[in-house]
Symmetry: C2
Subunit: 509 residues, 2 copies
């Protein structure tokens, strides 16, 4: 642990080098915003939703059979509404581990999900990309590969995520194969698997088995998958089947209610947070019925809304507050948490994008989100992955990594009493022995920040951060070298992809 924490400090300012990227082992306390009375009210609301309102598991007879086997008879208009004793649901949730390790094929890049650990992953699911040269356009597999490479190279992204952008030039029915293969071969960081159909989830699990071997997979979390519920209060078969595929193999699931407050949840932060808790808890309970002890991450994604148009808004006080609230609730129930991200509704990488992303991410970090999807690269409400945005956000993540991972040092060296013997009133500490001993590790300095004086900045071409980021990611891609991989495994994976692509008909939905 000491080794990792030192390594984190030493390397925090390096950006294009390919080296182990330690996740965060948090030293900072959490920001708890609720008192006991509020916590109990929120939990009572969760229980009320579970017991009296219910959550539907739709279009998945296998899922309903699992509920029936556990003694719950589905009800409601469509015979798929699960209402269950809240105490029992909480008992099932307690079977999930409060933290687990997702191993990577390069074991130096294993991540711990849960407890006092924080893991950053890039944006997920955008159909478009944007960069300073090419503008806004549909994402292609070429973009996808570039984004996987950049994520692999960036020391503050600990996890590869998955759909860093949708490769829209590949048939929907087949693109998961290329995406999984790209993550496995262009990077050696842990990543997520496909969820959009049961077969695609199964393909992922099969490829993971090729890469890691069945024995390793039986004992470890080698893959994790993220799926959304269909809020309000609906778990469609995409979600319930993904849980069945991944949880049955002891692999990890992140289930995330996506709630635009006022649309998919009541126009109230407290109600929407409670609803999200109920939705993800019922999925966690379901995962435990599939396999007791299945690793599960409580997801939360809550946004506010523009009064003018109903468009989702990000980085606003209500979702910022919801991050703090859900963080506290997750610790109470003892489940790893995914929330927040560097979110914005801005179309470009302007100051709006940065204000919103920073407020969103600052609260995500203080709330102790254990796994943060969308921590870099998100633009335009998630419709667009920004190449510059990815690098800009990731650069800022180093700041959160230091703040969260180190907290305030208060050892003898930190108090620098010897320095006061060298410095007169009104003097300066620049040349003191204490400064000489400590200055190299004292400050986190993001690579894309320009703190020089205006003359130097103008001499350098008066570039704004966006332009600096454009130059940076292009330079990074030039320097990219693939991580080593066992050739036989790579060939076996390629053969699997080729075979499955022949078996599966092209489909564009």
């Amino acid at each position: 642990m000491a080794r990792r924490s030192r390594s984190s400090r030493r390397t925090s300012s390096v950006e294009t080098a390919v080296h182990a990227s330690p996740f965060i082992r948090r030293a900072l306390p959490y920001f708890d915003v609720l008192d006991d009375e509020q916590l109990e009210k929120l939990e009572a609301q969760v229980d009320w939703l579970l017991e009296n309102v219910g959550i539907a598991f739709r279009d998945d007879p296998a899922a309903l059979a699992i509920w029936r086997q556990a003694g719950v008879e589905p009800g409601g208009e469509y015979g798929d509404l699960i209402k269950a004793d809240a105490k029992w649901i909480r008992e099932l949730c307690a079977k999930a581990p409060s933290q687990f390790t997702q191993i990577a094929r390069n074991r130096d890049r294993d991540v711990i999900i849960g407890g006092r650990h924080q893991v950053f992953a890039p944006v997920y699911g955008s159909p478009f990309v944007r960069d300073l040269e090419g503008g806004r356009r549909y994402a292609t597999f070429d973009d996808f590969q570039k984004l996987v490479k950049l994520t692999y190279m960036h020391p503050h992204l600990h996890h590869g995520g998955f759909v860093v952008a949708e490769p829209t030039d590949i048939a929907v029915s087949k693109r998961h194969l290329d995406m999984v293969y790209a993550h496995m071969t262009l990077s050696d960081k842990p990543h997520l698997g496909a969820i959009t159909e049961k077969e695609r989830a199964q393909d992922t699990v099969d490829m993971v088995e090729i890469l890691f071997g069945a024995e390793t997979m039986a004992k470890n979390v080698c893959i994790m998958a993220n799926v959304n519920t269909n809020s309000p209060l609906l778990v469609d078969k995409v979600a319930s089947e993904a849980i069945q595929v991944y949880s049955a193999r002891g692999q990890a699931m992140v289930v995330t209610p996506f709630i635009l407050t006022g649309a998919m949840g009541p126009v109230s932060t407290a109600a929407s947070v409670a609803q999200a808790m109920a939705e993800t808890m019922i999925c966690c309970a379901f995962a435990q019925l599939v396999r007791p002890g299945a690793p599960f991450v409580m997801g939360n994604f809550l946004s506010s809304m523009s009064l003018k148009s109903g468009a989702p808004t990000f980085g606003m006080p209500e979702p910022v507050l919801s991050n703090y609230v859900i963080g506290q609730l997750a610790r109470r129930i003892g489940l790893p948490l995914r929330c927040g991200g560097s979110l914005t509704a801005s179309k470009i990488e302007d100051s709006q994008a940065a204000y919103e992303s920073a407020d969103s991410m600052h609260s995500t970090m203080l709330a102790g989100s254990n796994f943060t999807l969308h921590s870099a690269g998100w633009l335009e409400g998630g419709l667009v992955t920004g190449f510059e945005k990815l690098i800009m956000d990731a650069d800022r993540l180093g700041s959160y990594q230091k703040l969260s991972g180190l907290g305030l040092e208060t050892d003898e060296n930190a108090f620098a009493r010897d320095a006061y013997e060298e410095v007169e009133p009104g003097g300066h500490f620049l040349g003191t022995a204490h400064t000489m001993r400590n200055y190299q590790t004292a400050f986190y300095e993001p690579k894309l920040t320009d703190s020089e004086n205006v003359e130097s900045w103008e001499e350098g071409g008066a570039l704004d951060m966006r332009q600096r980021a454009y130059a940076r990611w292009n330079k990074m891609l030039e320097a990219y070298e693939p991580p080593p991989i066992d050739i036989a495994k790579k060939e076996e994976l390629a053969a699997y992809v080729a075979r499955r692509k022949e078996e599966i008909p092209d489909a564009w939905y």
Copy 2:
């Protein structure tokens, strides 16, 4: 209190209207980052500095006389070093109120400084201004007046600050008169007074006496002034004389150690925070010797440093952490706190400026800073006041105002149980009675944010936030109307300024 808090919510999205701007009455808990052991270590370091290292009061025999009268014999090489019993210093600090009201000439704009209250004021002291049309240039009195007007008009700036930019076209020896007069007549918000020389402080106090009357001034804080120490461990006569002028009249002082960590303090956050505490505490104690019970705000301004050039950096993890730390220490000693701001080293209003400002301000807000100078408009390490930046930052302050002022609502309405009777699984809450009842106050929507879809944004000219801010402040200035003022008082103030300008020779230092 209930009235104000409702008013805060109702008006939080209005920007150009001239109406009462309630300061924040904080509902949110504080983020306490230190445990008891760390707190005690920090306070022991403060005491060690006070007792063993000492702080010099330089070039001000009157200040030394005050210390001698209190039984402290100055020492050190220059006979001006104050070392004092830390317990006694803490007892003196305890004489200062933990909160006080600064009244405004429009009493609807009174602000409470201290306790659970938070007051935002604009940038202070920049010699340059920048805007999208005129670029970067020396600030003039015309700029100054525009900035005072914009501050007056913006509902999220509760306080006028003072040197919103240096009017460099007026002699240094006289500009304080024009600045005070501008604040008093173009705005009716509370503001700060001059400190750069004893006479200028006295002019401010005299003008405040004209505006408020001696009787009101005897019973109330009508003016506050901010002065920096000369860190490390030096209080020059600018500071000690300002304290003597303002504190003697029972007016409020903010004393702020400006510490670039590694230069004016050791290259360590813990050491620099403790040093800042010691410096401001000795000034608070001095103010209490001048007049027991004199209102005093503990200032803190800490920045980190670029390894490349030694340039100050802002919004970085070390100063962000220092905000949280100093917030907790201030509550322990029971003094109102000034810290943080929307700080950045960026030269322009790009994403760097916004990332840094947001991380800096988010922590300022969570730390509970009671009086926040530089909460809007700061660029280029404080060398430049940005017109767009002022409006962009102020717009974001509304978000902090809502988050901090409201916290999480957990009343019956917040849980929206009736809405669940109207909505099916997978349905939406847009048309529910609960949404209809609540949507207008549910979300804070900053005016400069564009959350619309890309097509609408492109139709509107694809303007970035900076361009929108430029249009906005120009529109605001067009709509400016001066607040009413008693003509006799205005004439008396103008006559005072005219007389003093004749008496004082032009000086440009």
